[in-house]
């Protein structure tokens, strides 16, 4: 059954491997996935440990529902102390890795130490081997995966790998599986690189008993029907996530030229419909693919239509690649987006971070803060597609002064570049913001400011805030499973009740990450997607464990609090621009200049924003400084952490 999947502790320095069961008590407290990862990290990482040293535990996991009969139980979660931010490192990816890990008998791998020479792990049916990877070093992400399959003579092996960026310790290198599934954020690939760990290969054929199989099949049919019937997911299934970028750009919520504008105008060539046409032209009418057991199929397949990489097969692009290679650097060519997407996938680097950081460098270059000497002669102005792609190569291989500097991440780079370069860096807690512009949407601004892994939209974004839902509907959604009778506003520009929405979403997304399912299968972009009330059924039918919606909420709140405790231990303070819950000054000082008439002129009100943070802290049970109140820890059963239950 799902509940008897194990935790493996692997020490790469000594080669020692220890396999342990997960006590039921731990399951009830953390469920699995990200929540349990956070617990493991808090317990096994030493305060202030070097993120690139042997003491940083790297944790790879699936959720409690991984590979069971629920929809899209494909997600793999990766956690460690981040070499990009020095705070919580956490990343999540789709594909087929986590289910294979579960069939191999494991839910969590905790990898410590540092191998002397490049190695990879091979996890198969209850066993774990540390194997030589010297021949794999230097290979791209896909080459590595195919080489491992060849070596093991098994095409069904699924691997989580790093590419050259991870080997070169680019601080925002990602981990990848398949063609484009990426655990992109917070530099988890860099942690693998520091451990000389090129890959984790898995292959499993162990049974996962389904507790109530007949009911699970029937309920899953209804669950899938609910998920695929949503208009948002039908659009995803046709156009992929680029549709989100397209819709957001349409009204003026896409940051452009680093942060100077909020819309990429005349962007017809990079609109989702155009990308879709290219996929259709190069692949055919059925060019959408999906992750394990998911019927939304939001990932496009394509071949690069023109240019030096013409004919190369890849998947995506996701909205983050549109942001990175179109919106932020002010480029408007599908070829650039599709090529950039291919390059980041092959190098194994976070497209979001690299796009953001290059567009920051472009603004610095145009302002004269970066000189042409520092760019090694590259004309790094906005809209220069060739310079943009060249910078991707340079950062991933640490070539040239600027490539090497930017590869260390925005905050260290700003310290090296000096002058007032930091003022232009659009980041929170040392991690670059998504390509979206939150100046017209206070709720979304609060979300990125307080997200536990640094600026991020997948931790607590109440994306439905833009739909102007009637208050009655909002109340129905946001007052369950915990009663809430405070204010709620349909108006996206309002500051009323937004803190509660962000708090609710934060718990919703944590729960999703504990279950191991995809965020497109919960209340993220669509209001009719399942959440707390629906999950007890899937959990019960598949695992036999009984949870109430409220209990799942408590687990999620507990997981989020453990992440907070980790961040506080590593130095998070409320107003610290580099390590706090706050935003770049431009959010408060510079108004939006483009987009729909109603968006023009919008910026965040600093006083109201501060009050919103106060309110958010109150919901979370934190004091005004952002530290948990003793009674909150007591309520969540976290008063004795680290408690070392596993």
């Amino acid at each position: 059954m799902a509940l008897n999947r194990k935790i493996a502790y692997i020490d790469l320095t000594s080669g020692k491997i220890e396999i342990k069961s997960i006590p039921l008590e731990v399951r009830r407290k953390f469920i699995g996935g990200r929540g349990l990862d956070a617990y493991l990290l808090y317990n096994h990482a030493k305060k202030g440990c070097d993120p690139l040293g042997p003491d940083n535990p790297l944790i790879i996991s699936g959720g409690i529902l991984t590979a069971t009969l629920a929809s899209a139980t494909a997600r793999t979660h990766i956690m460690a102390k981040s070499p990009l931010t020095g705070l919580l490192g956490s990343s999540n990816m789709g594909g087929f890795f986590a289910p294979e890990l579960a069939w191999a008998g494991f839910h969590h791998l905790v990898i410590r130490g540092q191998a002397e020479k490049p190695v990879y792990l091979f996890v198969h049916d209850g066993e774990i081997e540390i194997r030589d990877a010297q021949d794999l070093w230097g290979q791209t992400t896909t080459e590595t995966q195919w080489s491992i399959r060849e070596e093991l003579a098994d095409e069904e092996v699924k691997s989580l790998v790093i590419g050259p960026a991870g080997e070169n310790l680019v601080r925002f290198a990602n981990v990848m599986t398949g063609i484009k599934n990426s655990g992109g954020r917070t530099g988890m690939g860099c942690v693998l690189g520091s451990k000389n760990l090129k890959a984790v290969a898995v292959r499993g054929s162990q049974d996962i008993q389904i507790a109530h199989p007949v009911e699970a099949l029937e309920y899953n049919k209804r669950f899938i029907d609910q998920i695929t019937s949503s208009k948002v997911n039908q659009t995803q299934g046709a156009l992929g996530t680029p549709f989100i970028w397209g819709a957001t750009n349409s009204w003026g919520g896409i940051r452009t030229r680093n942060f100077q504008y909020n819309q990429l105008e005349y962007a017809d060539d990079v609109e989702p419909e155009r990308i879709d046409e290219i996929a259709e032209e190069t692949i055919g009418p059925y060019h959408m693919t999906g992750c394990f057991a998911c019927q939304v199929h939001c990932r496009a397949q394509y071949k690069i239509p023109s240019g030096p990489y013409a004919g190369k097969y890849d998947e995506g692009p996701e909205y983050t690649s549109q942001g990175a290679f179109a919106g932020e650097p002010d480029c408007k060519s599908a070829e650039t987006v599709l090529t950039g997407n291919h390059l980041v996938n092959q190098y194994g680097v976070d497209n979001l971070e690299i796009g953001s950081i290059i567009s920051w460098a472009m603004e610095l270059y145009e302002l004269g803060i970066l000189t042409r000497e520092q760019t090694d002669g590259l004309d790094l102005r906005f809209g220069n597609d060739q310079a943009l792609l060249e910078m991707v190569h340079r950062i991933c291989t640490r070539k040239g002064w600027l490539g090497d500097t930017l590869a260390d991440g925005g905050v260290p780079a700003s310290e090296k570049i000096g002058k007032n370069s930091f003022d232009y860096l659009i980041q929170v807690k040392g991690m670059s913001n998504l390509h979206s512009d939150e100046r017209a949407t206070p709720a979304l601004a609060l979300n990125i400011a307080t997200s536990s892994r640094g600026s991020d939209h997948l931790r607590s974004r109440p994306a439905i805030d833009l739909y102007h839902l009637p208050e009655k509907v909002l109340r129905k959604i946001y007052s369950s499973p915990v009663a809430y009778d405070g204010p709620l506003s349909s108006e996206h520009t309002s500051y009323q009740g937004k803190a509660w929405q962000v708090f609710w979403q934060e718990n919703c997304y944590m729960a999703v990450d504990c279950l191991g399912i995809c965020k497109y299968h919960t209340l993220f972009l669509g209001t009719t997607l399942p959440n707390f009330e629906d999950w007890p059924k899937v959990i019960y039918y598949n695992t036999g464990l009984e949870f109430t919606p409220r209990e799942i909420w408590d687990v999620a709140e507990r997981g989020n609090m453990i992440e907070r405790l980790f961040n506080l231990r590593e130095g998070l303070t409320r107003d610290d621009l580099k390590k706090g819950d706050t935003l770049n000054h431009r959010y408060f000082d510079e108004p939006c200049r483009r987009g729909a008439p109603d968006v023009v002129g919008r910026k965040i009100d600093r006083d109201k924003f501060t009050k919103m943070i106060d309110e958010f802290y109150q919901h979370k049970g934190l004091d005004p400084k952002g530290d948990p109140k003793p009674e909150t820890l007591l309520r969540l059963g976290l008063e004795n952490e680290p408690s070392h239950l596993v």
Binding site: A67, D207, I210, Y286, Q295
Partner: protein, 165 residues
């Protein structure tokens, strides 16, 4: 009564493997692709996914080769059925099946094959993109012909558009 078979259009397959999952759960009450009667064969570097399942052959090589006569064609349902009471587990059927649709499961030490879930194939029921459908066996050619005709027709239309400029 008309007999029904699986119609597989691999172009439509997204490669998600939900069919493998529901197959294993329906038959064995577990999640384990090693127990699935249908398998998605993939060439990931090209994005090609092909679902492979038993074709319920008229003159089935598995039945012809089975030394224990455990495999036989049920004339009424049109399915090639496996009688576990007779099966000796020699795996000859696995070697001779031209589609690789017979599988040996090491956990149980038994071969498995598609039984069309007694007439309600779960792979069909759960495949939203309709890469697998359950159709009357006489209609398979008609369906395929219609799709081919649609492709030719749209190609003709496109050519005409190009000509008229």
């Amino acid at each position: 009564m008309a007999q029904k078979i699986l119609k597989i259009e691999h172009e439509k397959c997204t490669g998600c493997r939900l069919c493998e999952l529901v197959c294993a759960v329906w038959h064995h009450h577990v999640s384990n692709p090693a127990r699935s009667r249908i398998r998605i064969v993939k060439w990931e570097s090209e994005g090609v996914y092909v679902p492979m399942a038993c074709q319920q052959c008229e003159d089935a090589p598995c039945a012809a080769a089975c030394p224990a006569k455990a495999l036989s064609r049920n004339q009424e349902t049109g399915r090639v059925e496996l009688d576990y009471d007779k099966c000796i587990g020699c795996r000859t059927c696995v070697s001779v099946c031209p589609f690789g649709a017979m599988h040996f499961v090491p956990i149980d030490r038994k071969v498995i094959k598609c039984d069309l879930c007694d007439g309600d194939p779960q792979c069909v029921r759960f495949c939203e993109v309709k890469a697998i459908e359950f159709v009357d066996e006489g209609d398979l050619g008609r369906h395929k012909g219609r799709e081919a005709a649609r492709r030719i027709h749209s190609a003709d239309k496109k050519a005409a558009e190009l000509q008229s400029g």
